[in-house]
Symmetry: D2
Subunit: 379 residues, 4 copies
């Protein structure tokens, strides 16, 4: 058999309803003929392109902050923000190096900025958020709204908004995690990029006015004309988030798979913060060990508080505060708080809004082994 | 001319496009003939039923709490909750006595309850809210969710929910304002009423679980299955509301007609708390005197904090904390804070969700006299 | 007992959870005192304003076309359109004479126009439709769109649109039924009326362009900017409607209460044609006799085709083509086709969009007597 | 300079706000170090992953039916439906061979079936449609609803529906075009595939009941409980579509870029037929030559009627009835009817519903050269 024939043979499945065509010399000649017309025989690829269930090309990865932090800080000496555009170490999933993704179609990186530094203003079709990891004095300006930022706060810079990041001269070096859908928007062949004509934008509103305007408890300002497809509450603060989780702990058992999990929302619609990226925070009670489930959609986690471990695709990952890890689409995953006395909190961002909007979300609970995955190896 | 003819003549208008038919004996005979068939000639009523603009049958009224309070308290001695159903003094607009409304199609009353008392559980198609005016220990149970209530808190008991009100034995006599759309739902010929088969319902959740679950700042619990047409956050507390207004004051000038005005929302939709009744709270800065405007829809105000006056339909009403007043549909109105040092807050409920849903909302600013109404008389 | 006391006594109910307060002289004095403050005791009216279920003030009525037609035609000689505004005989429900309604909050009338006549252009907050009963050459212009109209076609003139009706000089005298929500919009105190400054509007589009643009089968024109709250397909033609009902007859049993019933929709939203008035057409197969049900909301029917009878609130009404009848809110009703060989079709308009939008819709099937009402009397 | 350094250098841009870091040995060492931790320096890839505007990896292709038809028919002799699963020749864009796509993330193929043949029933997360090109007797069954199909009809088999295709024994060999989002759903790592346990499904409704139920002109059946995210009108027939286009021609100039273009809709929502694939039909009037524009999103066209040419990305493609061609995302394109006397119609399917749902749609008109592209070469 020729290697050409071998190629076609590999995808055959002997199952009713699946392609199972024996490769003959006549067929190989036919296939070659089809290629001349930019065409092919479906049965040669059908089983490959219609898998029984998703098999992600991403692999689970844990990025330890103690590994990355020094390299992030080292970049300060190596490059300037002006030359680098943004001084970021990005997370490169071994299975997604071709698209520079942390998992699936999601990009993530750690950015560092010194007091007094400020990146130039730009905008792009990719949507973004940044989650503050350490430092004092960080701020972000989005379409003229300036937000001051502290640890575990996160801020949106949605599709099409002019935005810039900086650190006050009176601050300390700041590190934060960026989350974007650059790989996805590239894949959709819809990414545009623009540098602000004046490189920086003016602050046009009172500092933190978005918080003052939109963070009321079930209250919206009269006559707001907001009709953009993303949340006007650009900043989500850690303080009220942690309080909300604690309150919710008093009212619910939570999910067996996720503990006490809340989704950040657009207060005007109750929907996700941006059309393509959702963000969530969950609390694992002391001693809580979730059961395993899997679902479509990719997630990047950051440990906002505490320590513990997750089992992802049968592999155990031990995490501490500030570590980052990812769960690929349709991978089994479960989370455990490592402390018997303190809660642990996981921040996450994901493409679940896309999965829901396009009706591609599917979820499954693990029923075997008491709902827990056999663990292949610790990492 | 006969009195019959006189009747028809009164609606004539000598304007192109309006009915202007001279009443003749022949026509009167014709009209009589039509009556036999349950019919009439449109031109005899057209100008009456198609006014140039709305003329409300409600009149502006101020109900002073210092007048009503003693009468409300007196009812405690006069009737029991068991006999009265609910021990309520309702507000009876002189123009709406036929439908027992405070204004337009909105009902309002002041209810009093002694410690240890509890009304029986019922439900109805009318939607309701209660706003706490004084006392300790008030609570409401809605479909098994028990809410504890303090001054300036308000609670929803939406269309179709089992609900009961009570005061803890350890509390003090409590007075609150009820707001309902009973007249509207009656007018729509859609009101149903049911007494709970066991007269009281069980509390099925942790006390104040609705607050614990739904009052996060731009956060919603994962996997909530809420699909009812009203807010799951049954209770709206005064503390975070006042804080939100203060914060918003730092970010906006507010409306020239309403000062700093926020609407209570259903956190799942960003829409009104119930389909037929909306609720709002506004802050008038020290010294603020709004400009006048008018709009379709009826509103009942309660002074949550401070003192001042409103001019409604050219009439001045001076108000203090706990006073209640109403603004009829399409009546000019403006509000003034009477203090140069303290803010004033007005709670209100209204039928604006109906006006918006049915596309009947219209608004107009007063342009004459610097935006202020000439005042006919103080009252 | 005084007559005052008698008044209060009449609403007492000896049922737990209902008001049942004995009227004493002390209480009567108290009630008088409350009146001074524009207030009252709820328990004196609670049972009246919170009925166990809706009791409509409308009564079922059948308006026979053979009765009304001659009177409608006679109006041509009696008044001019210029003087009358519109030459209409309106249907006056005996229970709703105060608001000139045919049933509930719905107005209906029969309008006649001679060839060459044309009413002046106006607009109002009330929404309207007209259903063509007889004649050639009728047309309506809505915001510059001219629609030609034949028997059983109907046309929308929604809230706020400039509209005028006329009959081509080459046509014949035309009679149509008007349906409006004037009483409702008046009740909501939201009705505005305006005569076109030039009394007539220009036709700004090709004749019947709305049909050409919006009547595709599950097709919408690219890039339409339509964002009004009503259907852009102003005219709904009888031909495709009848065909659709016939086709649907081949695919469904239909409803036991309504036979094969379809609702006219806004093709852009799938929702009702206007926010406050819905329209429907139903086919009763030969020999079909529906079971009885009742629901909230008021309906006006016109017999578009065939003959038969309806039982409404226990009363039988025999109808023929062009007759009009009404079903009040929460009245039991059932329909029967009087022919064993031909189908019958009922056009209807109703306020169900309001009932649904405000969540006041409720429905109940009659279970007794095999689902049929005992008939009190023929009429 | 090492080849490693060369690699990094290639993406530098000397523009403010873009990455422009000189590659030094120290940096190369740093980059290597980062790789150990599954990380990288953003500035080495930033300009690559954040392009100024989309550059599609797809190329414009025209598939001539006269080329493909014989090869499609030849497959009948070469493989059975049982062995092949489906006997399809798929269109393989030279730039998208890795994902077997016709353009972008859209798959398309030509399927042939002989009378009496029937594929086995399956379902998958990919959404699909088929457009009938030739033959008599084709049918499709979707979740128990059987649809008969003629030339230029198309049928939906949405995400998750059981479906099977066949040709009646009394028919003729049939060829149709399949359109699916298999590549997209695979990319989203959300594709599931299932063969019906009994290989075939029962027909559970009258033949063509979906058409009978849902194809009324602006009419929907009462009480339909349809809440699926796709259109219940599975079949869209050519006859009423062509009539609608002709009617619309009488009411509009149409778009300068697309002529008279209509989108197939879900009649319940007015939205696209499926969440991930939209379908459209456009009429080019005799002699019409559109102006050029470009937009995000990928499109596959089939010539339903007539002949002409399109210029895509500066390349001219002459087409006849049944030819297929594609327009990649953000490629300039314009269409011309080749006849001065007959209209031409283009059917198309595309991922515009995705672009709109995720707010990634952007459009631009060509302003130079009178709105027409300079043509590089005919093909």
């Amino acid at each position: 058999m020729t290697s050409e024939a071998h190629y076609y043979e590999q995808f055959r499945e002997n199952v009713a309803g699946r392609a199972n065509v024996e490769t003959t010399p006549e067929l190989v000649a036919y296939y070659r003929e089809l290629e001349r017309f930019e065409a092919g025989a479906l049965w040669t690829v059908a089983n490959k392109i219609e898998p029984w269930e998703p098999a992600s090309t991403s692999v689970p990865v844990l990025w330890r902050y103690r590994d990355l932090r020094e390299h992030v800080l080292r970049s300060v000496a190596l490059v300037t923000p002006e030359k680098a555009g943004r001084r970021v170490i990005y997370l490169n999933n071994p299975g997604r190096r071709d698209v520079s993704a942390a998992v699936g179609w999601l990009y993530s990186g750690l950015q560092v900025m010194n007091p007094g530094e400020c990146a130039s203003t730009h905008r792009h079709s990719a949507s973004a958020l940044r989650f503050i990891m350490e430092g004092q004095g960080a701020y972000t300006i989005v379409d003229g709204h300036k937000m001051t930022l502290g640890a575990n706060d996160f801020v949106l810079t949605p599709n099409g908004t002019w935005h810039e990041h900086g650190v006050d001269a009176a601050g300390t070096p700041c590190i934060w995690q960026d989350g974007l859908d650059i790989p996805f928007v590239n894949a959709m062949e819809a990414n545009f990029y623009e540098v602000h004509p004046e490189l920086h934008q003016a602050v046009g509103y009172p500092v933190d006015d978005a918080t003052a305007t939109w963070s009321g408890t079930a209250l919206l300002p009269h006559g707001h004309g907001w009709n953009k497809p993303y949340s006007p509450l650009f900043k989500y603060e850690w303080g009220p988030t942690y309080e909300a989780l604690q309150r919710l702990c008093g009212a619910t058992e939570g999910s067996p798979f996720d503990g006490v999990l809340m989704h950040y929302i657009n207060p005007i619609t109750g929907g996700p913060v941006m059309p393509t990226i959702g963000a969530s925070m969950q609390m694992l009670r002391p001693g809580f060990h979730s059961r395993a489930h899997r679902h479509t959609g990719s997630t990047v986690y950051q440990v906002a508080k505490g320590q513990g471990h997750s089992v992802i695709g049968g592999q155990r990952f031990d995490w501490q505060e500030r570590d980052i890890f990812c769960v690929p689409s349709w991978a089994w995953h479960e989370h455990a708080n490592g402390s018997a006395t303190d809660d642990a909190c996981l921040f996450s961002f994901h493409d679940l809004p896309v999965m829901h909007a396009l009706r591609l979300y599917r979820e499954e609970a693990l029923h075997d082994h008491g709902g827990h995955q056999p663990v292949a190896a610790s990492r």
